[in-house]
Structures are given as structure tokens and as C-alpha cells.
């Protein structure tokens, strides 16, 4: 009986560690390959470096140099920031205002509006692409940053409003009543009371939107496709995969460049990150 329990515990360890290895190996392969010279990369598998892992002569930074400065990844890196930061801050502001009204003001139509917002969370983006693309063309916005800022704002709002409203609504009512006694206006209550209290949830929501936009391909592809000077990393990477599908020294380095920022967010803000992802998974 004892022996059996010991054996079972060993099996649990083996399974768990096995799964972790399977999950980790593909990323390790990418990382190792991105530092290998082109010739060696196509001549042998990346795992061959494990024979003498600390021999520096088998590694190079040339691939990164090439993708960042000759293949336009440097520019795309900047574009990703130029797209992602406004696409996070604009909807966050608009959603906080709306969520405040939905949580703390009484007006007819509030419930209907809330349900409409909840329903909109899972609308597939595909439903909006053609009319919005046409609108951008008429307005002369296609292929510009404001186009994707506006689109991501529209697409991000339902979920943000829903999450923020749930959080705001859960705050104690007395808090707001005491603010009223002090004669505060709605705007004061919103900026001085509510926002400071909501920093953690704002952070989670912002991180989710940031990563969603940073990792988005479809929106960039449709509204910015064909304009390579404004392309973000994902779009550039997808183009590179299409045009240089066998140039693994470039593809691996480029893919890793696109992963650096999300990985930093993941490891440094894991608590907010997990909460944001979990809350936001249903988004269209």
C-alpha cells in the first residue's frame, strides 16, 4: 500500500514535468535558433547546440541586427507602440466615464443599455470589417494610425465598460453618499474618489487591452494592410512569414522581437496580467 502511494506520487511528478517540457520546448527552440548563424541553422537542428551549450562561437546577434535594421522590424516595433498606447488609453478613458454612469447614476434605459453592452462583447469583428473599411476609405483614414486607434477603441469598449462597471458597482454606496454630503459633483466624485480607488482594476483592464492590441493581426491587416510604413510587428511578421518562409534565421529573430514586450509584461505584472486575461477572454 505504501509503495503504491509512492509510485502514484512519482507518476504525478512525471506527468506534470513532462507537460511542462512539451510546453516549453517550442519556445526554447525558437530562442536558441534566433541566435544561430544562418548556415548552421539550416544545416542542423537547434538541439545540437545542447552538446556544448556554453560555447559562444555557435551564437550570433547578426539575425537580430538584420531584422531590426534591414527588414524594417525596428520601425514596426515603434509602430506597435504608436498603435497600442493610444488604443489602450482612449478606450480606457471613455469606458470609465460610461461605467461610472452605468454604476452610479439612475436613468431609464440603464438595464437595457447594460445588456446590450454585454451582448456586444462577443460580436465577431468580422461583422464590422467591410462597413468600417469603407467608412475609413471615405474619410481618407485607411492606412493611418487614427484608423486603428478608433477601431480598437470601438472593439475594446464593451468588455471594458462591463468589467469597470462591475467593479465600480461593487464599491460601497456609503462612499458616494458621504461625497454628496460634502457637496461633491459627479465629476469630482469620479476623478477624486472613484479613479484612485480603481487603480488595480484599471491596470488589469489596461494590460488586457494593451496585449490584445499588441498581439492583434486582423485589425491591422484589414485597416493597415498594404501600408508597410505603419505596419505593427504582427503584420510585419506575418508578411515576413509569407515572403521569406524558409529564412528561419530571420523568422525566429523577428518572432522573438515581437514577443519581448508581452513577455516583460507577463513576468513583471503577472498578477494583473492573469486577472486581465481571465476577465477578458470572451472579447470579439
Amino acid at each position: 500500500m505504501r509503495k503504491q502511494a509512492w509510485f502514484k506520487r512519482l507518476m504525478v511528478h512525471l506527468v506534470v514535468i513532462g507537460v511542462a517540457l512539451v510546453w516549453l520546448t517550442p519556445s526554447v527552440g525558437l530562442l536558441v535558433s534566433s541566435f544561430r548563424p544562418k548556415q548552421e541553422l539550416i544545416a542542423s537542428g537547434w538541439w545540437t547546440v545542447l552538446r556544448r551549450p556554453f560555447d559562444p562561437t555557435q551564437y550570433t546577434l547578426a539575425n537580430y541586427q538584420r531584422v531590426l535594421f534591414q527588414e524594417g522590424l525596428g520601425r514596426a516595433f515603434l509602430n506597435s507602440f504608436l498603435i497600442t498606447i493610444p488604443s489602450t488609453l482612449i478606450p480606457l478613458t471613455i469606458a470609465s466615464l460610461a461605467a461610472y454612469a452605468l454604476a452610479w447614476m439612475n436613468f431609464s434605459g440603464r438595464q437595457v443599455l447594460l445588456m446590450a453592452v454585454v451582448g456586444m462583447i462577443v460580436i465577431p469583428l468580422q461583422m464590422t470589417l467591410i462597413p468600417v473599411l469603407r467608412m475609413f476609405r471615405v474619410l481618407g483614414l485607411s492606412g493611418t494610425f487614427p484608423a486603428v486607434w478608433l477601431a480598437h477603441t470601438g472593439y475594446g469598449l464593451p468588455l471594458m465598460i462591463y468589467l469597470l462597471r462591475n467593479f465600480f458597482g461593487a464599491l460601497p454606496r456609503e462612499l458616494f453618499e458621504s461625497a454628496v454630503i460634502d457637496g461633491a459633483s459627479h465629476f469630482t466624485a469620479f476623478t477624486k474618489l472613484l479613479l484612485p480607488l480603481s487603480v488595480p482594476v484599471l491596470a488589469s483592464v489596461a494590460i488586457f487591452q494593451f496585449l490584445w492590441v499588441w498581439n492583434d493581426l486582423l485589425v491591422a491587416l484589414v485597416y493597415l494592410g498594404g501600408y508597410s510604413n505603419v505596419a505593427p510587428l504582427t503584420l510585419k511578421l506575418a508578411l515576413l512569414a509569407g515572403s521569406r518562409g524558409q529564412d528561419w534565421h530571420l523568422l525566429t529573430a523577428a518572432a522573438f522581437v515581437s514577443m519581448v514586450v508581452p513577455m516583460i509584461v507577463f513576468f513583471s505584472l503577472q498578477r494583473y496580467f492573469v486577472r486581465g486575461i481571465l476577465a477578458g477572454a470572451l472579447k470579439g
Binding site: 438595464q111 458597482g169 498581439n215 504582427t234
Partner: protein, 289 residues
């Protein structure tokens, strides 16, 4: 607090403006366009839908989406749940969780490249640089064209990438819910002589029922719209297309806005049950407030 009649709407105005211009009106407009020809000039009735439900490429896309739906959902939910339960028994839980959850942070484009490299294929006489074929060859097999061999190997190879990305998500949610099961309950069952499998079946599963429902719904909604992975890895060649990719192709490559709109509407119709579930769940939560 004094609230003027107009005040709430002032706070809501920017949101309403953006929601109507980017979600509500475009959705209605797409429904309308789906009854028109490629250039939206001539009314064609249900012809686009007829085409969407009968053309060979669409039927393949439907089949593939169905395959995604079954295999992807079963694996992400199943493996996620199993990991949540198993990881509760080891001390290095946090490390393993981070490893499995990490792919959630990167884009599908990057994940697509990572796996295209894993799947890379060379003729038998050459050195394999893709890990999977290297293993196959080392075991004495012939290298496999993972992304080429239709219809099962290549589609399952793409689905595996999705599973790699999303299992961590399911695991994290299940893990949080699992830790909410009172430990006394599990212990009592074990003392009564139940084995681990019986405990899992008769206590864990019933306790996590609603979490399983939520996670499964999330996976199904995701999988119906899956696009990036296929776009980057095969762009639909060798019969790997899914519905969202067909929509993009009709719109972008063939400029057939009528058919593209009809495909989008079909996607929406498939998702509407989940909109209803979402709204219902929301109302139930509200009733509890």
C-alpha cells in the same frame, strides 16, 4: 447625489458614439450587404448564403471549424482541468503554471512561426531541422509533411498550436476554482475509501460544473472565430481553411463583399446562442446583487 436628466448621457455619449459607429451600425450594414452582389450594387436575395452553404471551399471550412470545435475544446478544457488538479499536489506548482500559461502572452503570429519551425519538413536524405520530424526519423520513420498531409494531419497540426496557446488559460481558471473546493470534503471522501478517480468524478466535477461551462463557452466562442493561426501557418492551403479565413479571402482577395458579408453573418449566427448565454448569466448575477 443630484443628477440632471442629461448628466448620465453626457458621460455615456463618447461610448455610445464609438459603439454605434464601430459595432452596431457596421453589424446592421453587414447584414444588409449580405443580400447584395460583390460590389453591393445589385440585390441578389439569398444567393450569397446559398453559395456559402454549397461551395466546396466553404464546406471544407465548415468541416475544419467543426474539427477545431471538437478537438480544440476537448483538449484545452480536458488538459486544463487535469493539470489544475494534478498541480495542486506538487510544490513547484507556480513554475509549471507560468510555463503553461506563457503562450497566452504572445501573438498567434509568433506562435504560428514557433510551430511552423517545429513542423518543418525536409526530405528523408537531409538533416531534419524541425524537432518533430527529427524525432520521427530518429525512431526510424519517414519525415511527415505536418502542414501538408490532408485532411487530418495538417488540420490537427494547426489545432495543436491553438491548444498550446489556450490550455494555460483553462488551467488557471480551473485551478482557482479547484482551490475553492473545501478540503474537508475531499478528505472525507478519501477516508470513506474513495479512490482519486472517484473523488474526481463525484466531487471535483460536480463542484466545478459551472466553471467548466463558462470555460467551455469561452473556448467555443474563440474557436468559431479562429483566424490568425491558420492565416500565418498555411493561409488555408491543402484544405486547412476555416470560416473566418474564407471571409477574409472573399473580402480581400476576391473583393466579393456580398459573399464575405454573408459568411460573417453565418459566424454571427453561430455565436448568437453564446450572446444569449452571456446576457442570461449577466442577468442572473444582477439578480444576486
Amino acid at each position: 447625489m443630484r443628477t440632471g436628466k442629461a448628466t448620465p448621457w453626457l458621460y455615456l455619449l463618447p461610448a455610445l458614439l464609438m459603439l454605434s459607429s464601430f459595432l452596431i451600425l457596421p453589424t446592421l450594414s453587414t447584414v444588409y450587404l449580405s443580400f447584395f452582389g460583390p460590389r453591393s450594387e445589385t440585390f441578389v436575395g439569398f444567393q450569397n448564403y446559398l453559395q456559402a452553404f454549397t461551395s466546396r471551399s466553404m464546406l471544407i471550412a465548415f468541416r475544419n471549424n467543426l474539427l477545431w470545435l471538437v478537438v480544440f475544446t476537448a483538449f484545452t478544457v480536458g488538459v486544463g482541468l487535469a493539470l489544475a488538479v494534478l498541480l495542486d499536489r506538487v510544490r513547484y506548482e507556480v513554475v509549471i503554471k507560468s510555463i503553461v500559461f506563457l503562450p497566452m502572452a504572445i501573438s498567434s503570429v509568433a506562435a504560428g512561426i514557433i510551430w511552423k519551425f517545429m513542423y518543418s519538413f525536409r526530405p528523408a536524405y537531409a538533416n531534419q531541422i524541425g524537432l518533430l520530424n527529427a524525432i520521427v526519423v530518429a525512431l526510424g520513420g519517414e519525415p511527415i509533411g505536418w502542414l501538408i498531409q490532408r485532411p487530418w494531419i495538417n488540420n490537427l497540426a494547426l489545432i495543436a498550436v491553438g491548444i498550446w496557446m489556450w490550455t494555460g488559460f483553462c488551467m488557471v481558471i480551473f485551478s482557482a476554482a479547484y482551490k475553492g473546493i473545501p478540503k474537508e470534503m475531499l478528505e472525507a471522501a478519501r477516508i470513506d475509501g474513495a479512490n482519486e478517480w472517484q473523488v474526481f468524478l463525484h466531487i471535483t466535477i460536480p463542484f466545478l460544473k459551472s466553471t467548466i461551462a463558462v470555460v467551455t463557452t469561452t473556448m467555443v466562442v474563440f474557436v468559431l472565430k479562429v483566424f490568425d493561426i491558420v492565416y500565418v501557418m498555411t493561409n488555408g492551403s491543402f484544405d486547412t481553411e476555416v470560416v473566418a479565413n474564407r471571409m477574409y479571402k472573399e473580402m480581400y482577395s476576391y473583393q466579393n463583399y456580398g459573399l464575405a458579408s454573408a459568411i460573417a453573418v453565418i459566424l454571427l449566427l453561430a455565436i448568437i446562442p453564446f450572446v444569449v448565454i452571456n446576457v442570461r448569466r449577466f442577468r442572473a448575477q444582477e439578480a444576486l446583487r
